[in-house]
Amino acid sequence: MRDRDLREGGSRPSGFSRRSFLKGASVAAVGTGLATEALADAAPTDGLIREDGVTTVPKGALEITLRVNGEDVAVTVEPRTTLLDALRDRAGLTGTKKVCDRGACGACTLLLDGKPANSCLTLAWDAVGREITTIEGLADGENLHPVQQAFVECDALQCGFCTPGMVMSSVACLQKHATPTPEQIRHELSGNICRCGTYGRVFEAVANAAKNGGGR
């Protein structure tokens, strides 16, 4: 049953065709997740195993399409590949940082369907059919997002390694509370750790961004 070629290492570049995948992704966007019927069309020729109401993604690498910052990005991933590794190592989007790799620091924060997520504890496959927004997707050309602008103006970073995650959580905060109280800012940023201890400036930046329409 199982496609041996794909088991280890997954040398076949595009086991799971972009076309059939997009079909799945577009269904998912309207519905409740990746529609498995759509996957069924892709198996077995596309490397998925289809039997008795279960579609199985074998151990090797397959190409999937992720919707990142409004664009389709093809990445070759194994079932175990995290969204963080898929973005950094496969898609070349290294703005999202890896620090603890265990959900505890927030460096890898991005938005999944508009909500904050630790991409280090999210499988790439679980992001299929969902809108992924990373730090690279915030600016509008040369124009920084109001939150980014506020971070610059408030000098809200030292080494900068936590900053992409901080910015993404700040954006999520302002989407939830257009004019947040100091307590709300702290609460919504509580999943992000800054080892340089720049919290004061970060909180200030979020408050300033709120005044400048950061919750757009």
Binding site: E8, T32, G33, L34, T36, E37, L39, D52, G53, V54, T55, T56, V57, P58, K59, E78, P79, R80, T82, D101, R102, G103, G106, T109, L112, K115, P116, A117, N118, L121, T122, L123, W125, D126, S169, A172, C173, R186, H187, E188, L189, S190, G191, N192
Partner: protein, 331 residues
């Protein structure tokens, strides 16, 4: 993390059929992926439940006032749920709203929260042996670093149950709906019975068989009455696992406690119900003194380890706070 195959079932029935001794279910995967990365678990197949929203999602209030919480409901959805607006449900909303971080709450599911594995550092690190996972024959935490470990109910392993939601749901008298390999194997059990009666080192942390799926949590209509509250202590205020936690549900009528239900978290291998405290305060006039006395008695049976005696003091204060809030005595 070792390689695994990922199974995407069409329905709950397919998911249950696909599961077996070498598989693991995955909801959001926050706990599971952590364990896979540490190589504490090494399933051949991960069976995905996250896409089964139709069968496992949603919050539904029924006409008689009971509420069904689908297993895939996220902690943030529970914290914000209008169906849980009644003050009687407060403990659950607070427990979920305080758990973990915004990023975790936005994805973590109720089912995964109730079935997550303990956080003992010896268990979580594969650099150490552990009696619980069978890699060793002794609980290293018992005589080792045990600052975050149990005060109550241990057999030969001092792990604590880490879930925020569990003690709140115990206090609210919730039931859990479970589905096995075939539809007629479905059963509903009180949430207390989800956890092993004797939480020995080798006992699994919950009673579900490999192919059993937690489908939903049911809150009885009686839970909406009165008021409930959840309070926890932790080392770090921004976010952290609870060092002690307490959930209390009280119905006060004519100035007296007519009904009480209390449960501690983070102090025992299972959520730790305090039925004797509930009994003692029922019929009494709520006051901080009454609650302090009840808390003192409850913690008399604590068996602190070398590094966790602080939990006895802190736990009493947290319990009094939860009871006072549930009685409306706060502020």
């Amino acid at each position: 993390m070792n390689a695994f195959e990922l199974s995407l079932p069409d329905t709950l029935a397919d998911a249950a059929r696909k599961a077996g001794p070498n598989s693991a279910f995955k909801a959001a995967g926050i706990d599971l992926i952590d364990r896979l990365k540490e190589r504490i678990d090494d399933p051949e197949t991960v069976v995905d439940l996250l896409r089964l929203r139709d069968e496992l999602g949603g919050i539904q209030a029924t006409a008689n006032g009971a509420v069904r919480l689908g297993a895939l409901t996220t902690l943030q959805e529970l914290a914000d749920a209008t169906a849980l607006d009644a003050p009687g449900f407060g403990a659950l909303r607070e427990a979920c709203g305080e758990a973990a971080t915004p990023q975790v709450r936005a994805r973590a599911t109720l089912g995964g929260n109730l079935l997550q594995k303990n956080r003992c550092w010896y268990y979580r690190s594969n650099a150490f042996s552990c009696a619980h996972d069978g890699s060793g024959d002794r609980c290293l935490a018992w005589h080792g670093e045990n600052k975050f470990h149990a005060l109550f109910g241990t057999v030969d392993c001092v792990r604590v149950h880490p879930s925020n939601a569990a003690p709140a749901l115990v206090a609210l008298g919730a039931e859990v709906e479970i589905r096995g390999a075939d539809a007629d194997s479905s059963r509903r059990i009180p949430i207390r019975a989800l956890y092993p009666q004797s939480p020995a080192a080798r006992a699994p942390e919950h009673v579900l068989a490999d192919e059993e799926i937690l489908v939903a949590v049911h809150l009885p209509a009686s839970a909406a009455a009165g008021r409930s509250a959840y309070r926890e202590s932790r080392e770090k205020l921004s976010f952290d696992w609870a060092t002690t936690a307490a959930a209390a549900h009280l119905v006060v009528e004519g100035g007296k406690i007519a009904r009480a239900s209390v449960c501690l978290g983070a102090v025992a291998p299972n959520p730790w119900p305090l039925d004797d405290v509930a009994e003692r305060i029922t019929g009494q006039t709520p006051s901080r003194e009454l609650f302090a006395d009840a808390a003192r008695r409850a913690f008399r049976r604590a068996q602190p380890l070398r590094h966790n005696a602080y939990k006895v003091e802190v736990g009493q204060a947290i319990l009094v706070d939860a009871l006072a809030a549930a009685a409306g005595l706060e502020d």
